[in-house]
Subunit: 338 residues, 2 copies
DNA sequence: TCTGGCACTCGGCGCATACGAGTGCCAGCT
DNA sequence: AGCTGGCACTCGTATGCGCCGAGTGCCAGA
């Protein structure tokens, strides 16, 4: 177990390195932080920390930088989430309050998060899995063509075209719509399949094919849309690290465009509360020198999706975590209101 | 007026520079292209071209690179759009044919375009202005709450919540829906305002408030959605120019995130046919060292939106133009089919 | 009008040197 | 036992210098 002072040394190293982006030496440390001991002592502590793998030197005669393991310890034991200041809170609220619909909420959130953290922001659209059906609408477009519109309690709307196996009368359609809604309105998506299972049985034989088609399209929509969409923003912030980048920036941009990858990563993060994935903890290779801070958000107590930030491992964790948490909280409020 | 050979020299310079990304000298030119004259002659021509502002030297003792003006001349007079090869065409078609809905078409298009050109791709969602109404649906969500769903002929769906000033019966709603659709279905968006102007007059006095609210929401939707959305992709390709970049890449990323800027730029480009904006021809400062190749696309003969590519001025114009044109054509076909 | 020749320019590259921040270790002090 | 000051050592970076070669402009001659 590391002594209290060694932990403080680690904390100081992380803070300085994040601030200056340069390896930090023993002398600078004792000066900038009131450690009350001499550089030589700090050097001993550093040697011990390096031995344990919390820090490393890029070159033999350079200062130390934290390793992924060092950041991990910092985040777990040494850092406190930095709460937003009053003005910041108000700014967040003002910015989000102007949103007119779900798309706008998501778009504003991603911009806001990118601006607050000066990093790349990622916002997942509210999941359909946990939400409930508000309404299902069926619109006749042609004798054998129907449009299915699904409206969720989070305000999301999905539509699908359906080609019916046989012509389907307007009255039958109205009938189906009524029965369908009476069964699924207000219910959770996960419950829908068994709720509609025996629905075709109440219809004339010649209509059952169409009814089944409509139902299977509905179920498909639920499943397919389970593959969430997400929106990213603030990629220009990647260029702030132009020193080491060009090489690092490319795989990150590539990973960000592969939404599948990001979604999987977000999915892997434990659900309630904030998660921080540091460097190599990220399964995806291109993101090995970045950290991801994410948290679930939702309209009720339950998280329906995640949002977060992707940045260099050398990031201001307390500030970033504070911003992410605050934004998630306000987005949840907005969603609950609408 | 420039002599025929000087034009050929300019063409050769552009082609070589695009290929090698290095300033091209007189000797290399005569070797790589069968100009049939000596380097000294080419030097004279180069001096003349430089005099006219078509090429420039980065340093006194270096080769020449084309200026924006040089690229302009190349694109206007010296280059032919390079048609896609058969396999390329088939690949495009296969890739786009798998799309399931409009979102998917756009998403696939942007990916495809980025991959084909190895540059940043931009695709604008089909505009509502030129499209026609396929159907308007009104759904009662609560006694005084209605959801408006607008379906366009391009397959786009927009929805709006409406809080009615007074409760509104289901039968009145059905009545309104029927009358509304009989007037606007199949009509152009721009014609809608005058088509529904006198609609409230046919309703009971107590319902007119609600009818007006619904109508104004509909008109609002048309106008608001006139501010198009667009999708970009392939930003990772920006890092291919890491040499001079880091400095150049940042403003480009910033401009790309400012959708307003991009939309304005796309809007400025003349509508029918392909447009190429080179370097400083782009009004936006951050894009002064990039070129934009864009073209309108649409389901019918008429363009409903634009798509294109953003890349360095030093790009393969014939190839890029070929890819952009081909993709636009196929997207148009897909839209027409659905 | 084109060509070969020639002197000149200047950016890039390799190399050697100096500098300095930072380290590890050790002996001595408390 | 832990802390401190001192000291020799490492090594990455900055700097200066000289060479090389691609490329140019100009000029005289075909």
């Amino acid at each position: 177990m590391l002594s209290e002072r060694r932990l403080q040394v680690l904390r100081a190293i992380v803070q300085d390195y994040v601030g200056t982006e340069e390896p930090v030496g023993s002398k600078a440390l004792t000066e900038r932080h009131g450690l009350g001991v001499s550089p030589a002592t700090v050097r001993n502590d550093m040697a011990a920390l390096e031995e344990e793998g919390y820090i490393a030197q890029p070159h033999t005669s350079a200062g130390r930088i934290p390793t992924d393991k060092g950041y991990r310890l910092f985040v777990d034991k040494l850092a406190e989430v930095k709460p937003m200041t009053g003005p910041e809170r108000r700014a967040i609220q003002n910015f989000l309050d102007g949103a007119v619909d779900l798309d706008d909420v998501v778009a504003r959130t991603v911009r806001l998060l990118a601006q607050l953290t000066r990093q790349v922001a990622v916002v997942q659209y509210p999941s359909l899995t946990r939400s409930t059906v508000r309404h299902v609408e069926l619109l006749p477009l042609a004798p054998a063509r129907v449009m299915l519109v699904l409206i969720t309690d989070t305000g999301r709307v999905e539509q699908r075209m359906i080609d019916c196996p046989a012509p389907f009368g307007e009255t039958s359609l109205a009938d189906l719509r009524a029965r369908l809604n009476s069964r699924v309105a207000g219910r959770r998506f996960t419950d829908v399949p068994q709720l509609v299972e025996d629905l075709p049985e109440g219809f004339d034989v010649e209509d059952r094919g169409t009814v089944s088609t409509v139902l299977s399209t509905l179920l498909e929509t639920l499943v397919e849309e389970n593959e969430e969409r997400l929106v990213i923003g603030g990629t220009a912030n990647l260029t702030r690290f132009a020193h080491d980048f060009p090489l690092t920036i490319r795989p990150v941009l590539e990973a960000l465009e592969e939404q599948v990858v990001l979604l999987r990563l977000l999915g892997e993060m434990q659900n309630p509360g904030m998660t921080v994935r540091i460097g190599h903890e990220n399964a995806h290779e291109g993101l090995n020198s970045t950290s991801i801070v994410s948290v679930g958000y939702g309209s009720g107590g339950e998280a329906v999706a995640k949002l977060g930030v992707v940045g260099p491992t050398r990031m201001d964790y307390p500030g970033t975590m504070g911003a992410v948490r605050a934004v998630a909280r306000y987005v949840g409020q907005i969603l609950a209101e609408s």
